[in-house]
Symmetry: C2
Subunit: 315 residues, 2 copies
Amino acid sequence: MSSPLRGVVAPILTPFNPDLTIATDLFVAHARRLLRGGCAGLAPFGTTGEALSVGIAERRATLDAMLAGGIDPGRLIPGTGLTDLPGTAELCRDAVDRGCAGVMVLPPFYYKAVPDDGLYGYYARLIDWVGRDGLRLYLYHIPQVAGVGLPVEVVARLAADFPGIVVGIKDSSGDWANTAALFAIEGLIVYPGSELPLLDALDLGGPGCISATANLNAGAIAEVVRRFDAGDRAGAAALHAAAGAFRRLVQDYGPIPAQKGLLALATGEERWTIVRPPLVAQPGDATRALAGRLKNELGVDLAALVGAEEPAATA
Amino acid sequence: MSSPLRGVVAPILTPFNPDLTIATDLFVAHARRLLRGGCAGLAPFGTTGEALSVGIAERRATLDAMLAGGIDPGRLIPGTGLTDLPGTAELCRDAVDRGCAGVMVLPPFYYKAVPDDGLYGYYARLIDWVGRDGLRLYLYHIPQVAGVGLPVEVVARLAADFPGIVVGIKDSSGDWANTAALFAIEGLIVYPGSELPLLDALDLGGPGCISATANLNAGAIAEVVRRFDAGDRAGAAALHAAAGAFRRLVQDYGPIPAQKGLLALATGEERWTIVRPPLVAQPGDATRALAGRLKNELGVDLAALVGAEEPAATA
């Protein structure tokens, strides 16, 4: 089993062109910027990446563009979970065959209140249908969005029955008691889906976090892990508090449209404001207000967060 | 605009083989039986058809098998709604190009609590992306499963802005106040997603209902509409009460596994018990208990419900 990506992993935002096709040029440039800026890895096609608004062929083409753009697949954990086995298996195979570090798989989320045996059975069949020894599967628990969660008992059964395949979980529930219970499962890699409990997770032996806010604030979050690893827990805690304040402020807004708006403002690239329906873009004045609060309340310099653009990053 | 299918439309169950591939032979035989048995039409790939557990290519192949099996596409309203525009548009085009009477489209159901403008924008973009004049779109409101509903105001806007394209809605909310509000929208075809409010819907000028229970009880439900149309409202009401009792009893069980179990029992075809995860098959003893209650409490003869098999119906 490969060792987990240690630090902060960004569920990368998916930029769109005005005709709503994926803006591959912006996507690859943003991915490079995030890896340069401190991300240990990227989780394309997560909730933050509007993955469930993106089609199967588009996901494949975007992943190929990332690899063609020089991004190491060993730093990628793409989301591959749909509501059906055939589509999910296809996306998983694509990722494994391209050498990705792992895949992140939602539970099937259309039917609600399904039995634990049904959830377990779904993943068991999926592993069979994917049919790849190289599969490294991260479960994805985000019940407040998906409407279907993964009970700790189901996670424990899957980890026990598929060692080396069901390797970890991203817990975006925001419920620390649940995250702590997952840490008690032997050998399971646990990423909280936010930087808020990052220090607690590091204390329990976790490798870091996967957080939406890493699209803008990766450097600060990564530094928390570096200081922790260097034994400077007090310094880590001070930086952690600042990163938490940043997150809370951005989360007050619609987190996906808000971060896209901030990226547009910081880079001057208007396409960053575009979301796919059913999401709605954040109006420019709301974005400017948020940027003002980030500066005035937290001293955040947006331009510094995105850094200098690569020469090749524009279309 | 074509006139709506009048009577009962069955959201046909999807049978699977032991390896979980679609049992196309059983599917086509069941479709023929339902149309012979009184269904005005079929809505393949609805919630009851485990549609969201079935892949895009599988849906296409199954639709083709139905047409090859002699089923009139003018009696089909397949479900085509996924969470993303490209996949949903592809399924809609497939159905339109095959001459289907319409398509039934869920709202994008991954992101929750999305703005009305986002829901409206999704369908507006979808109609554009489908790019077919022959598109006849039925909205699908089933908030208790999808987790995302279609507010009446959004339905009214879509019907007004896309006349002849957004032609109707299936309302499976079980909330009669909502269904009645939909009937007030000029020109909209409204199917309740159950036979329970069928007479009320007919009174308001509706064409019938689309009900899961039609997989077993289509003849009785269809007869309600025939008597109503013949002016025998008292006779219709008596049959309606019996059909309602049937539905309530079956709905006490997990409706999809229960009906599949009953079909297996009635036809002797064990494959009918199989469901895809995350659903779980109903144990045989529960099915036998349900069949006993149907017989003892309601006088239902299961074998009579499924009728004689066609010679070509077995694999």
